[in-house]
Amino acid sequence: MFGLANPDRFARFTRPLVPVLWAAALVLLLTGTWFAFTAPEDYQQGDAMRIMFVHVPAASVGLMIYGALGVSSFFALVFRHPLADAAARASALPGAAYTLLALVTGSIWGKPMWGTWWEWGDARLMSELILLLFYIGYMALRASIDDEAKAARAAAVLGLVGLINLPIVKFSVDWWNTLHQPASLIRADGPSVAEGMLVPLLLMMAAYLIFFLAVWITAIRTEIVRRRVLSIRARKALEA
């Protein structure tokens, strides 16, 4: 585990992994989509229920990605490890994209089901919006500081602070009385999703997760290469 923290070893180890991840993500996305549109209509929501297959995976994986960003930030801050910082940095954009998708698809789903696109008083909606703002703040902070080492440290602090929001997003539906329904997959009495919908939902969850891993590892590898390019350029500038 810690052996992989060496950027060279990480690059070598993940090289054969990357195409496999991309291929697996594509296959899962296609099969998940197929099952999503062959699943029987919901007896209450009709075809609108099919929005669930793109909404729930984006929301739950988007939340997990922030966990990855927070933990990477911790390792970057405490152990000053460059790979941890690269991992945190590389997770911000896909995390923001997933969270944005969760908000947009949720809003589109909310209109026919709740009669409204958005509800300011809803704890799940608000905490999810705050999650998006943490992602955007993280990227903006990094972009606004020229000194990369300083930017990394400041962003890592922000990344860590944002972890506080994670349990709030997750448990908002239990702690407050929200318009948003409570968790239906991970619960003590087993999933409460009808069987026909469970298969496409799980496939799409796996697809979104593997897709993120493909984007993430590709981006971490790019970050390693980018830093080498920068250091070679800096050395050349010194030699010249």
Binding site: R12, G46, A97, R228
Partner: protein
């Protein structure tokens, strides 16, 4: 197992939700893959530049080891 693409009265909600998701995921993938390709190309270009001035490397003494060490580590990349 019949493919049901008739979303009835919810078509105006289901298709945009799926469409936006597809566009965002495709953009993420394209961005990641293009950036990977661009930075590897740039690294290769810099390394090729390094290969040429042999005399300069020797003159730098200790410095001569470093580009080579970096190259061997990077050589396995791609």
């Amino acid at each position: 197992m019949v493919l049901d693409l008739d979303m009835g009265k919810y078509a105006a909600y289901v298709w945009p939700a799926w469409g936006i998701s597809a566009v965002v995921l495709a953009t993420l993938a394209a961005r990641a893959l293009l950036a990977a390709r661009r930075w590897s190309a740039e690294l290769k270009r810099l390394e090729n530049d390094n290969d040429r001035p042999q005399a300069a490397q020797g003159a730098l003494g200790q410095e001569a080891d470093r580009p080579q060490a970096a190259q061997s580590a990077l050589g396995q990349e791609k």
